[in-house]
Amino acid sequence: MAETVDSTPCGALIIGGSAGSLDVLLEIFPALRKDIGFPIVLVVHRKASNESLLTDLLKSRTTLEVSEAEEKEFLSPGKVFIAPADYHMLIEEDQSISLDYSEKVNYSRPSIDVTFQSAAEVFREKLVCILLSGSNADGVEGLKSVNNFGGRVVIQNPNTAIMPYMPQQAVLNVEPHLILDSHDMADYINKLNG
C-alpha cells in the first residue's frame, strides 16, 4: 500500500524511543546498508549520567558513522546523530543541530516531541519518523506535526514492543503511514531513497 508514497525521497530519518527501544535499535543497526543516503537521528530517553553508553553500543553494531550530536553540527547523509543525554535537540532550517537545556517535556530531556516538531517543518514530506517502544506518551505531539507537514509516520507495532504504551498512544492519536513489527524496520529503512 505504501509503495507509491515511499518513492518520495527521504531527507532525514528520526527514530524516537524510550524504555524497551534499545533491543529494537540493536536489531536494526547491524542490518542497515552501508550506503544509507540520508542522515539518521536518534532520540532515546536515558539517564543523564550514561552519556556515551548508547553511542558506544551502537558504534559496535554498525559500519555507519555514529556520534553524539554536537551543537551547530550539520546533518549529513550516511551518518547517525544521537541526541545527547539531558539536552533537547532541534533541527534548524539549514539542517544544523541546536541543543537546548530548557525544561523537560513529557518528563524527558531529550524529548522526542521537540526533535520531531522542529524537523517536521524543515524536512516536510521528506521526513520519516519512527516511534519505538516506551512507557510514556512522548513523541505523539511530534508525530502530529510530522503528519501536518506531510512527513511519514512509522510506529512500531505495539504488540512487538517491550513497553507498548508509547506506540499505542501514537497509534490512537496519529494517523500512521505504517505500523511495523520490529524485525521489519531495518528492511523498511534500507528501502528508503536518499
Binding site: 533541527i91 541546536s98 541543543l99
Partner: protein, 272 residues
C-alpha cells in the same frame, strides 16, 4: 503544544518589535530554539491570535517582563556536571589561589545556582575571602532570585549528590537552612557576589577576570553571535586566566581558539 501556531516570518516580526520597543536583540539567537520558546509562551498564556500576542509583547511593559523571563532558558542546577566542578576544585581554583585577589565572572548566571556552587568550592579551598564573583544575566527578575540564595528544597537531594560526586568535603546541608519549601543558603556565600544585569549581545567588557564561567548560554546563540561573545570574553580574561563552558559547548571553530589550551577533558580552556 501546537508546533505550527507561529511561522518563521512571524518570529522575525516579533523579534524585530522586541528590539525596537525594548532594546533586547534576539535576532542572532538559534532560530529553532527561540521559535520553540515563543510558541510555548503563546500557548501557555492562551493567546488567540498572533496579532494579539504581538501587540501585548510590544506595548505591555509588565507582560514584557514575563516574555523576557520565559523566552530565555532559566533551567540550571547546583554542581551541574560534577566532574566539571571536580576539575575546578582540583585543577583551576588552586592555581588562582596563588593570586592575591580572584575575580570571577559568571555570565548568564540565571537564578544563581552555579555562582553559589562556585562560592562553596572557594570556601572549602579557603579562597572565598579574597574572591569576588560577578554574576550577571540579561534578565533582572532572575537576578532578584539569585540574590536571595533560596532554592526549592525538593532539588536539594540531587544537588547534594552532585556536590559529593564533585569532591565536596562536607555535609552539604551545612550550607543551608530549610525554610518551608525553600533552602536558604548561607549569607557568607553571597557576601562575595555582585549581581548585575549584563546583555552578552549588546554590552561591553566591564572588567578583567581570572575565570569566566558561562555554561549552557552560548548554545542558544547562532555561530556569529557565539564568536562575538568569545571575543568579548577574550577581552575580559587576563593572560593565563580560564574560560569555562557548558558540557556541549566548544571554542573549536572560533578563530582565536589556538590562543587557548584545553584543561584535561573538561570544557575549560586556559588563555596562553
Amino acid at each position: 503544544m501546537i508546533s505550527d501556531a507561529i511561522d518563521n516570518e512571524q518570529v522575525e516580526i516579533l523579534l524585530n518589535d522586541v528590539l525596537e520597543s525594548h532594546g533586547y536583540d534576539f535576532l542572532e539567537y538559534s532560530h529553532a530554539s527561540i521559535k520553540r520558546r515563543i510558541i510555548r509562551l503563546y500557548g501557555l498564556d492562551n493567546f488567540v491570535s498572533f496579532a494579539e500576542f504581538r501587540y501585548t509583547v510590544k506595548t505591555d511593559k509588565q507582560y514584557f517582563k514575563r516574555f523576557l523571563e520565559e523566552i530565555t532558558v532559566n533551567v540550571t542546577e547546583m554542581f551541574r556536571d560534577p566532574s566539571f566542578y571536580k576539575s575546578l576544585r582540583n585543577d583551576v581554583l588552586p592555581v588562582l589561589g596563588t593570586y592575591p585577589f580572584i575575580r570571577i565572572w559568571v555570565a548568564g548566571c540565571s537564578t544563581g545556582e552555579e555562582a553559589y556552587s562556585l562560592a562553596i568550592v572557594l570556601k572549602e579551598l579557603n579562597l572565598l575571602n579574597k574572591s569576588l564573583i560577578y554574576a550577571t544575566d540579561i534578565n533582572p527578575s532572575v537576578l532578584d532570585k539569585a540574590k536571595k540564595g533560596m532554592f526549592p528544597l525538593n532539588y536539594l537531594k540531587q544537588y547534594s549528590e552532585n556536590y559529593l560526586q564533585s569532591g565536596g568535603l562536607k555535609d552539604f546541608s551545612a550550607y543551608y537552612t530549610a525554610n518551608y519549601s525553600l533552602a536558604k543558603f548561607d549569607e557568607s556565600l553571597n557576601s562575595k557576589m555582585i549581581f548585575s544585569t549584563h546583555n552578552l549581545v549588546s554590552d561591553h567588557s566591564f572588567n578583567e577576570f581570572q575565570l569566566i564561567l558561562c555554561r549552557n548560554v552560548l548554545i542558544y546563540f547562532d555561530k556569529d553571535l557565539q564568536h562575538k561573545v568569545f571575543n568579548l570574553f577574550d577581552s575580559s580574561i587576563e593572560k593565563l586566566g580560564y574560560l569555562a563552558l557548558g558540557s556541549k559547548e566548544s571554542l573549536e571553530f572560533w578563530p582565536k581558539a589556538k590562543e587557548y589550551k584545553r584543561v584535561k577533558m573538561e570544557k575549560i580552556w586556559r588563555k596562553l
